[in-house]
């Protein structure tokens, strides 16, 4: 596969995946951009991987998780961390706000946990592959998911009960 072919067929999916990881369009754009620049510069190596798309998604996860450590976002873009309260799309309808409770809570999770949720519930990967993508053991990956789910349950309950209504 050439780089061109890869971009033609996979860029859309990668952009959506970046939104799931980062929670907002601008950060997603930065993440895809930074990852794809590296992909382009190292295409020879990327294309040699068994599954290039998965390899790239893994690069993206690494990049996203590293971002807290200040390795790429702060250096490249000097942008403050996104404010979770504006992570929701601009939709003032009350129903939409309710529905986005879960999206807002996602923004408060540690990055590995959010990444694990994306891999399981957006990418539908089995636990072993989630662990592989995150570079951790299966047990750790499951731990991320169960912690994240219980936090989501708690916060969602609390927010919708004590919500604006």
């Amino acid at each position: 596969m050439t780089y061109e072919e890869f971009v033609n067929t996979r860029l859309g999916a990668l952009a959506r995946y970046a939104v799931m990881l980062t929670g907002d369009q601008h950060t997603a754009q930065d993440l895809v951009q930074e990852t794809m620049v590296r992909v382009q510069l190292n295409w020879r190596r990327v294309s040699r991987a068994q599954a290039p798309e998965r390899y790239v998604k893994r690069m993206m996860i690494n990049q996203y998780v590293d971002w807290r450590r200040g390795s790429w976002l702060r250096r490249v873009f000097l942008r403050p961390d996104p404010d979770p309260s504006i992570a929701a799309p601009a939709d003032h309808a009350q129903r939409a706000a309710d529905r986005d409770v879960i999206w807002n809570v996602l923004a408060t999770l540690p990055r590995q946990q959010r990444a694990a949720l994306v891999l399981r519930y957006y990418e539908d990967l089995p636990d072993a592959e989630i662990a592989d993508m995150l570079g951790c053991t299966v047990g750790t990956a499951r731990g991320y998911i169960s912690k994240a789910l219980s936090r989501l349950r708690e916060s969602a309950d609390r927010l919708s009960l004590g919500g604006i209504r």
Partner: protein, 340 residues
């Protein structure tokens, strides 16, 4: 169920994905910019090759090494092998203690004639007095202090009348790392040398020296019969040793060694418009025995303790370099030629 809500939330937000066309353009622009920048920094590996050892011999490239080096440089541009004679300036910076590297202690011009695989190393004594614009008459080593590698390049161009195509600066400490990365390096000495700094005695004849020894050896000057002139000749012998060692190791086929060389801090290269890989390809076929060291035999001091180039022979040398008649110069002036 929270899991279902989660799936819904992900699905709903797919619409937030950034627009693809602008994203794609941004990626291409950024990648292009970074590729250009990287072509300069990554070239460090080939630079060590081209500059330090003249020939981290590129003869190993014949057919086999190229695919190791090409991914290393990761340049997608076609390789332009520069034509015509080439002059590369190699500056050795002595940075000791806390002083910033303020002087170019070793100034070596690597000349590649337009045809054939020969190479000439011409050492310029660091005390040779030149005109520094705005500063008056100064030793050439001070040009680095006033205006960096570019200043020394200009001074060398003015002194020799030659165009300098590329400049490499190497800290002596980097020379040490490079030597260690290669393992030991064979250096042949016509007379024994005793270190003023460590007391180490380097015997006459050919020996394999470690990075620490080379670092020590290359600083020696005070007690050598011809001072700085002898030191420059030792520098040439070290470069020949590096070239020889690199040839033995088939260095470019050893990705690990190339990576260690590339990571050597303290080596910088300015190749101007030249393609470094092409430059290295030009060195293809240059074996250590085709490299000739040239230098003024001994002092020709000014009353103030500076040095002058021989008023009769130096112009002949520069003319020979310009006109591609170095073989005639070498046979006419054996005292200017490094004896192996």
């Amino acid at each position: 169920m929270i899991e279902d809500e989660l799936r819904d939330a992900f699905a709903r937000h797919e619409a937030q994905a950034p627009a693809l066309e602008p994203l794609r353009r941004a990626i291409d622009v950024l990648a292009g910019r970074r590729r250009r920048r990287r072509a300069v920094t990554r070239a460090g590996a080939a630079a060590v090759v081209a500059a330090l050892a003249v020939a981290l011999p590129v003869q190993v490239w014949r057919g086999k090494g190229a695919d190791v080096l090409v991914p290393l440089i990761e340049s997608v541009a076609p390789v332009a092998v520069p034509e015509g004679p080439l002059n590369l300036l190699l500056l050795g910076l002595d940075q000791r203690g806390t002083l910033a590297d303020s002087r170019a202690d070793t100034i070596m011009l690597v000349h590649l004639p337009a045809d054939g695989g020969r190479a000439y190393l011409f050492s310029i004594n660091r005390d040779v007095v030149v005109d520094i614009p705005g500063e008056g008459r100064e030793r050439i080593s001070a040009t680095y202090y006033y205006s960096g590698a570019e200043g020394t390049r200009k001074a060398v161009e003015k002194l020799t009348g030659l165009r300098v195509d590329a400049v490499a600066t190497v800290k002596f400490t980097a020379l040490r790392s490079v030597t260690d990365a290669l393992g030991k390096v064979p250096v042949c000495l016509p007379d024994p040398v005793t270190s003023d700094h460590t007391g180490t005695v380097f015997p006459r004849g050919c020996r394999d020296y470690s990075g620490r020894d080379v670092d020590d050896l290359i600083r020696q000057r005070k007690h050598l019969p011809h001072g700085g002139y002898d030191r420059d000749r030792i520098g040439q012998r070290v470069v020949l040793g590096l070239a020889r060692k690199a040839g033995q190791l088939d260095i470019l086929r050893d990705a690990g060694a190339v990576r260690r060389l590339a990571a050597t801090p303290g080596v910088t290269v300015d190749v101007g418009g030249l393609d470094l890989l092409g430059l290295a390809l030009r060195l293809d076929g240059t074996t250590p025995d085709m490299i000739t060291g040239i230098g003024q035999p001994t002092w020709n001091s000014t009353p103030t303790g500076g040095e002058r180039l021989d008023p009769k022979v130096a112009p002949e040398l520069f003319a020979a370099l310009r006109e591609g008649t170095m073989e005639a110069f070498v046979s006419a002036h054996p005292d200017w030629v490094l004896q192996e």
